[in-house]
Symmetry: C2
Amino acid sequence: MEGQTRTDDIVRVPANGRERFYDSRGYGRPAGDALDLAPVEAAHLLYRGDLDSVDGQGFREYLSAVGGLAVRFFVYKDLRDRGFYCSPTREGWSDAVDPDDTADFLVYPRGKGPWDEVVEHRVHVVGERTTVAASQLDGGVLAVVDEESEITYLDTSRAPVDGATEHEPPTGVAATLLGDRVVAWEPPESLYEQGFYGQPLDRDDDAIQLSLVEAAYLAERGALDVQADDRDDGHAAVLARGREAEGDRFDRRLAVYTTLRDRGVVPKTGFKFGADFRTYAEVESVENLGHSELLVRVLPAGHAFAPRDLALDVRLAHGVRKEMMFALVDGAGDGADSPSIEWLRVQRLTP
Amino acid sequence: MEGQTRTDDIVRVPANGRERFYDSRGYGRPAGDALDLAPVEAAHLLYRGDLDSVDGQGFREYLSAVGGLAVRFFVYKDLRDRGFYCSPTREGWSDAVDPDDTADFLVYPRGKGPWDEVVEHRVHVVGERTTVAASQLDGGVLAVVDEESEITYLDTSRAPVDGATEHEPPTGVAATLLGDRVVAWEPPESLYEQGFYGQPLDRDDDAIQLSLVEAAYLAERGALDVQADDRDDGHAAVLARGREAEGDRFDRRLAVYTTLRDRGVVPKTGFKFGADFRTYAEVESVENLGHSELLVRVLPAGHAFAPRDLALDVRLAHGVRKEMMFALVDGAGDGADSPSIEWLRVQRLTP
């Protein structure tokens, strides 16, 4: 059987194409008894020997002739090999396709097909060298084809972050700004033991070292009274030092830190994991601390991910049994008020 | 006992300081019966209560007064807490100090001290926000103090990479350039099975997909005959496509790939680990493949590391039981000849 390309890159397969390829195997979109195929479907049928040619070309020629087809073909084939029916998203081909949807494929649950209108995954295909805007990652699956044509599936979701930690910080604890950190010399024990702010300078010492972001949060609430040589206002001095060290990133991190604390989640540094924070959803005391659940990387809302960096973060989080969460911050910065934060969770997926 | 700052930031402790602090505990440098201390040593003695004051200041005041002292103090204290004697590097204080040495501390083996002239570690101290030039990482230990004042020790070494893989690629295998990858449709089985080049398109198919870097390496050796629509010279077409996709990075990666293959090491993509390559030191056949031993990240020789990125790479490598290796490439690029590569291994260290 042979296909012919029509306008709009649609490959038309003549009468009884519908019966052979759609009704029993979920390819394409019926056009009477004929069938319209997207190029990736045509390539797959050529590869399998079910189609003899498209415009007189065999599989190898056709795959070379259609620009950008190879990467999509690898993913389509992989999903088919795993037993899924899937449809390229094309406006008008399915009621399930939102015109704004950036997905390349709709994947149906195993045993279902395009006639069922139940969608298991929306898959967005990229090569490993293509950056992906954070705004595109909103509940779909990212299929990254690496340079050796192996595929990594990353499941994305917009997920709220909530916790159950209850702790009221003390008030007016004296502290000193020391370079890019703060030390509270004699805070009440609860600051560290229940609040999990900072870390002790020594086992046998009352002094608690705080990060700039912890100190800024506490100082804003009147919990910390920071002495800084050159400033009357300790809170302002901490903010200034933070911005000096990290620029706008400090404001983004502080916005995320504040939101997490306000929701009962305790953020601590994620440095050892290459992240901004690791978080604990419920801290009663440091003595009875469980494992942290999330790794959080703070990014500006307009960030574009390099798939390799994404793979690195997700792989590491998986290896330490945590979930990778990206906090996308819009509008944080010196003088800006109430930035908005979206939470993007990314996990490895084996379809 | 009280100390006084002299010129050059040296804190002089008067007569019998030598006996109390140097002879028995390895602080400072004798000056007759008196003792000269570096500020970090003076701070530690103040912290312990062994010194009452320096220039009339107690520990808290002194730590605030000396710029940049806090971060070095945390590391010095941590090393002392772990049972090591260590000396700040100061020209003329020890025969073991090379004037070009960028280390902050010399750490002696446990039970040894400055009078023994045996050095266990040379420690370079940075805050997590300070970038570190690759050229500074040459055999010493990097102590990174994160924002919450926890310390991560990273051991660096310049290590050669060698393997024992023996495989002569075939000649003149036909292949097609397909976007940013290459497919050899009917190569001899040995290309993949023994050489571990590329990966099969399908279990039941002869076709092998190759990355651009694999294809460039093979094409240069006459092993691959690449067809590209728009070029007579398939090798040049692969190089051009690689540079189009990755710029100079492609040349650096190809230089590293080539050096590894030439040394009997098989590089495969490290995408799933966020690296450039994972490597196998000895491949006899894909059927009997062991685990890969190294993760390799390719960087320009002038690269400066953000400690957090370094922590991420090293942590991930550790988690998957591989070693993290950085290939620092000097002089690769279109038209440049024989780039030089230095191999930098970085591992977590618990002193």
